[in-house]
Symmetry: C2
Subunit: 342 residues, 2 copies
């Protein structure tokens, strides 16, 4: 089906556009009363992820309510480890928890991977299909995955962490097992993303949420090569890499086969454009906390951001929107971008 | 009393030295069996902080066991909010918790500050005095505080946080109250550090642990000016500023009146030396997780670090040493530095 609004895709392909497209990471979530109504009727977050009709419904909600330029499928990056044989739970206010974790090479060898593992995630593909039908061509649909290092970090650590010292210890002490695990995650992720594209994803985003806790040397060995494999394999649609906190690796990302680079709120877009040249589109990077400010200040900050980025820019936050963000603040951000013209 | 080993101070003053001095952030702590023995006999971490004889004892333990070039007084950055009127608890495996937090201008106005507040911390000053006696001039004693932004972030947030979104919201929505609070923290910190110096601190380190979560613009408004006030006021001894994660502000730190800049493990020391010139000493920055690696790799990494930094370098980790780090790994790091000569 032809898209009525393909601004995101034209921008990601590097075409001249009239204004930056805009969407928000975590736009399908607690900021919307419609989402909270559905969520409160369910036993937990995973039920929402695993029920295609509901996942599709909450994916479309921000398009209805905020009139953003893209939908992003409601899901979780941790479906991948689960499909590989490591189930996760989501503990309210605590985050993800893996009852079983990866400790050694034998644990890694026992995991399934690639197309077999991806085939476990039919409920995600069904959700994409239903979302496409529901969107009826209004805006593009973004599919996503975690980057292999971030997925490994949860599989080894077993939960969120300030330091991810167990996961990093695994890299330092069992590099062979780490590389095998990263390769299995990569193979699964590629098969999974290809299925997502078959079921309607128009653009892919890879989230390397814990990029910033690796040393630059570790990132070059344990993270970047696997991201590059994914970017090379996904040639059907544009791809965005968001390596949160990894300012030290941006110069290397320049050479990765992705169209768009996500930036967090620490980054200076104008300076990066100078350093990295014009062959990448940037996405980001308003501080999510900026949306707590008075409306006038949000509008000014959004304009400053647009000016700072210049062209080849997808407007977004520098991180997922926080659940308690006032809806008026979110709308002020979106509308400021939508009313802009280059 | 004259110091038998003043390598740290000569380095911090920019003198030519024979090798980098070495110590570890959190060296007085769970990595040492001697520490764990004392800690397990007590009701909690705060009892250790608040009992001068015990605080002095654990401060000296790493000098005995590791033969490092400095002691750092065992204490906590959160004694400052407590002295200002906001008591904290330390919840095992969860971190700090403030039963009462700062919500608005009235809360800020109710806090005491400056010398009156610092006078509440006699137990810290007593611990310094006892430590100096116990060290008997073997190595210098480091005193420390949190940077005003980091202290504010706990006082507003009430606990640790991945996002510190409440604290950042406070900056965006109540900037006047935030500035008053930052000034009160700064005044208290200066009075506190001056007392620490009177009681024997030979060098001061200011920890801005949550520097990295501010935007560059916020850091310049809400963090840096208060750090500069502290650095200007402390002219008795050298001062180190460690703004963790704030790679984006290093160019500004160049102009702050401190002798030494702490670097985390993301930073490229050789590149920073090029960018920042030679007027600052750098401290850091081995990845604390590197100490989980095999001994030979730790030794090589320590040598690589020394080479990368060149002169004007205080060897340390890029963060506090993690509690489960093998003692042999810590010793391999320390001894590699001690056996080096320029």
């Amino acid at each position: 089906m032809e898209l009525k609004n393909d601004l995101l895709l034209r921008t990601a392909r590097g075409e001249q556009v009239e204004r930056p497209p805009v969407w928000l990471m975590r736009q399908a979530g607690r900021i919307l009363p419609q989402y909270r109504a559905i969520r409160s009727s369910l036993s937990g977050f995973k039920e929402l992820v695993e029920t295609p009709a509901l996942a599709a419904e909450v994916t479309i909600q921000p398009v209805d309510e905020l009139d953003v330029d893209a939908a992003i499928i409601f899901s979780d990056i941790l479906v991948i480890p689960e499909a590989m044989g490591l189930p996760y739970e989501l503990v309210e206010k605590k985050g993800p928890l893996f009852p079983k974790t990866i400790q050694n090479l034998q644990d890694v060898q026992a995991l399934q991977s690639g197309e077999n593992a991806a085939a476990e995630l039919q409920y995600v593909f069904d959700a994409l299909k239903l979302t496409k039908e529901g969107l009826n061509g209004r805006v593009p649909l973004i599919g996503f995955s975690g980057a292999p290092w971030t997925i490994l970090s949860y599989m080894v650590e077993g939960s969120g962490s300030k330091t991810f010292s167990k996961a990093k210890k695994f890299l330092y002490t069992q590099p062979q097992a780490a590389h095998l695990l990263l390769q299995k995650i990569t193979d699964t992720t590629i098969a999974y993303l290809k299925q997502k594209i078959k079921h309607g994803a128009d653009l892919i985003q890879v989230f390397d949420s814990w990029a910033g806790i690796l040393t630059p040397a570790q990132y070059r060995v344990f993270a970047l090569p696997y991201i590059q494999q994914i970017c090379e394999a996904i040639d059907e649609v544009p791809i965005t890499v968001f390596a949160k906190g990894a300012w030290f690796i941006l110069d290397d990302l320049k050479d990765v086969s992705c169209q768009t680079i996500g930036l967090d709120w620490n980054m200076n877009a104008a300076l990066l454009r100078q350093q990295m040249g014009i062959n990448k589109v940037f996405q980001g990077n308003l501080d999510p906390c900026q949306l707590y400010a008075p409306i006038k200040e949000i509008e000014q900050a959004a304009l400053d951001m647009i000016t700072n980025f210049g062209r080849k820019h997808i407007a977004n936050l520098g991180h997922g929107v926080y659940p308690d963000t006032p809806l008026d603040g979110v709308k002020a951000f979106v509308n400021t971008v939508k009313n802009y013209s280059y």
